[in-house]
């Protein structure tokens, strides 16, 4: 995980929190089990195990976690902002085509151009089977469903090339169902829109 955009960064941070929490809980449970051998048998309170550990403990942890997850989720939502860029992604076996709101009629194949440092909404659809759109370093994934359009918000912090993948199994060519995202600086983006650099 090498996040290169705000969405992916938030998710990476979420992962470290989850990992720490999970490790702690696992060690706690393991210790409880080990103790069963280490202690003299005797009165054991059903209430303590079933109610406190079984009900109250997970409920508290989960409630906290869920709240955190929802907050993170909010931040990933495609919200209206003034400098928003809209592009379209159309998947097929085994190819990607991209269109641009700011350059009507312009279509690129297997290369998606975006401006760096600005939020981009990708409108994703498919013309044949179900595909998945995924740029691991920039955002989570979203499926391309035939007949539906799903919108994914992504943003690249810095100009550069990022690998994109088809992320829903789609038959014999799945492994190589890839594309490249090129994030331009402002000048590069303008000249792309003018139709200069491909």
């Amino acid at each position: 995980m090498h996040p290169a955009g705000p969405a992916a960064a938030v998710i990476a941070q979420l992962w470290w929190v989850l990992l720490a929490g999970a490790t702690a809980i696992f060690l706690f449970v393991a210790a409880l089990i080990a103790l069963a051998w280490r202690r003299p048998p005797g009165e054991t309170q059903e209430r303590r195990f079933v109610v406190w550990l079984g009900l109250v403990f997970p409920m508290t942890v989960l409630a906290a976690l869920l709240a955190y997850g929802l907050v993170v989720g909010e931040r990933l939502l495609p919200r209206a902002t003034p400098d928003l860029v809209r592009v379209a992604a159309e998947a097929r076996q085994w190819d990607w085509r991209f269109g641009y709101e700011d350059a009507p009629g312009r279509e690129t194949e297997n290369v998606l151009h975006i401006p760096a440092g600005r939020p981009v909404d990708v409108a994703i659809t498919s013309v044949d089977v179900v595909h998945g759109f995924w740029v691991p370093r920039l955002a989570g994934k979203l499926d391309a469903m035939p007949g539906h359009v799903n919108v994914l918000r992504l943003e690249a912090d810095a100009p550069g090339r990022y690998e994109g993948l088809g992320s829903e199994f789609n038959g014999a060519g799945y492994r190589d169902h890839r594309f490249t995202v090129i994030a331009h600086d402002e000048a590069g983006w303008q000249s792309f829109l003018q139709g200069e650099t491909p």
Binding site: A8, V10, I11, L14, W15, L18, A22, I25, F26, V29, A30, L32, I33, L35, A36, W37, P41, T44, E46, F49, V50, L53, G54, L55, F57, P58, M59, L62, L65, L66, Y68, G69, L70, V72, G73, L77, Q93, D128, V129, V130, G132, P136, A139, G140, K141, L142, D143, M145, P146, G147, H148, N150, S167, E168, F169, N170, G171, A172, Y174, R175
Partner: protein, 818 residues
Amino acid sequence: MNALRRHRALSRIWASEPGLKGWFTTVNHTDLGRMFLFVATVFFVIGGILAMLIRAQLASPRSAFLGPDHYNQIFTMHGTIMMFLFAIPFFEGLAVYLLPKMLGTRDLAFPRLTAYGFWCYVFGGAMMIFALLAGIAPDSGWFMYPPLSSTIGAPGINSDFWLIGITFVEISAISAAVEITVTVLRYRAPGMKLSQMPIFAWYALVTAVMILTGFPPLILGSILLELERAFGLPFFQVAQGGDALLWQHLFWLFGHPEVYIIFLPAAGAISTILPVMARTTLMGYGWIVASAVSLGVLSFGLWVHHMFTTGIPHMGLAFFSAASTLVAVPTAVQIFAWIGTLWKGRPVMHLPMLWLLAFFATFVIGGLTGVMVAIVPFDWQAHDTYFIVAHLHYVLIGGFVFPMIAALYYWMPHFTGRRTYFKLGHAAFWLVVPGFHGTFLALHWAGLLGMRRRIDSFAPGQGWEAINIIASISSFVMAIGFALVLIDVVVNAVVAVRGSRDPWGAGTLDWAMPTPAAPYNFASLAHVTSRDPLHEDPDLPVRLARGEGYLGDPTRGRRETLSLDIASGTPRYMVVFPGNSALPMLMSAVTGLFFLGMLIKAYWLVPISAIGVIACALVWVWGLGRSTTEGALPVGRGLSLVPATEVPDPPGWWGSVFLLLANGTFFGSLLFGYAFLFTIAPNWPPPSYLEPGALPLILVLMGAGLVFFGSRLGALMGAGAALAGLVLIAGTSLPVLSQSPDPTRHAYDATVWVFVGYGLLHCLVSLLMWSVVAARRLSGHSAQTTLGAMRVARLWSDYTLLVALLSAAAIGLPGVLT
């Protein structure tokens, strides 16, 4: 009569036929349970070999061992075999073998149905294996998403094998589920209240009900997809009003409960074995039952978490994310109740206990990663990567395979009547468990590094090489360990010395019989007043063998057992089971021809074999009737009861109720699918809706009235009225279909045809049932002995009229409203 003479007499009555013939004609649950377990294990080995091929391919980058076309078949079949041909049937086998013994009765509620289900499983599984060997196996992944799995993405016969083969196999799941439900509710040792049942029976009950409500959406989905593939009915094709998302909903509506259908039986085994290993009783019996039930219920509200990346609306995501984390709570209750049980007792490290510790270590991690992927933003990253592959194996192997191995070692003395002898099992344990974690712990990380699942090879230089080679080597270590477990079991079964009757000192009735089990289980049925009857009364086995319980007298020379009141456990009537018969196998072979005809598009075979199935069913049902009454007969301990042929709610009536539960879920799923397409799918409305005239409406209402009121007039009059009503209802399909002549035009038309087909099928079934009732009366059966059959027929015809009315409303309303 002494114990030995009683044993001989009962064995003569209950035994399967000797030799090879016995395999095909047995209806005995002990035999069939063992056969189920054996065949399921064979499929585990096949699925395991496929897993080894996968790991061999992925051991190094740019591997050229398998190309994508083979690789795709292999991972699809690995998943499919493990889920449908290993896990579920293994549970069925265990339940078939154990339940009657734990409940203290002599067999399952419908012995011939057990056999029918078993053979459907064998024949359906054989179809799948044939496809695998012939290189034409399904290759769209175990969840078979269309359009990839439909004619667009998979024009060959591959997907048809999945859709038809698995549906065939599901017959066995449904029949086992009906059987388990009725057995747990109505066939226990007299006196055993619901609250005194062995905990495993509770889990089996919850699992069975979940199968009844969880599998129908998948069966519906498979039928719809096969209709699309074979005849072009466009349920999943967006251009004609279908939607690929519909499949995903139907599949996961099944698929999530499926995970718990696999886990709950394992939890049942754990709850049974753990207290024995800790030499105490289970902590929080009531809590555990409650949490099993709530897991069952909750698991039907979670399916969307498999679809977090499909563009579900935001509020939906939040809801299902919350529900998915909530399901961890009842799981936690069970885990901590088990740990509390360990604290309460003095645990001993026998082999089954060792495997239970492996379960804890593995399943807890799987549960924690499960909570992680329930958090939507994280799932957006982890979805469809090796993180998910690792998570699901932690849950499935940790939560099912390990506990099942514990169960295997725990009940092995019961299966074989021998003491476990060699220490091979310990060596196996130390290969499997570290091998497992070496394989899948590493793969979590590969997923986070962006390794997608289902890729057939990977390029070097992405930091994945070390992880994959570690995973592959570990997986071979694990496989050797599993092989050792199997060798250990076989060796022990063959050469170990005879053991004592209750080697672990357990308290449940399964240990109150000589082992290996006699075909009749108990020479007489115990009267149970507590949860651990064997602890209460250590002499119980001897007294039962001496015939001091119920039905200890074999002189009537037939297979007798008792059926109880559900809650209180008071005996209600006596049941006489049918004997050995090849009919179940024959009928499932003919059923197989039906599916085969569909598969190879030999459509002439379909109606012929359908008639064959009906003929078998009629022979089957006719044999169960009895023309005269016997009245109350002595059943031992001073009690007299009437046989089931003379009561209004015979076992067949109860079986019908639960079969209709599954059937109703199927119809409900159809309504759901229709509503889904109507509201969500693009390209609606269709070119035209039906314009229902007054005539069909009047016909349906008249038919429904006749069926409902007429069928309450007694056997002969009722049959006549029901038959007339059913014909009227069936007749309305003509005007309906004439308005929607082309089912391939739009998903709406296709749905209309499915509603009509479903309705006609039920008209036919009810018609046949009422004909049997009428034929019995006409051939001289008494009113008393046809009462039960008549109530069964009425149940089905009432269901049919309900279906007819709902279907009419569903397909007619849009036309009326627009």
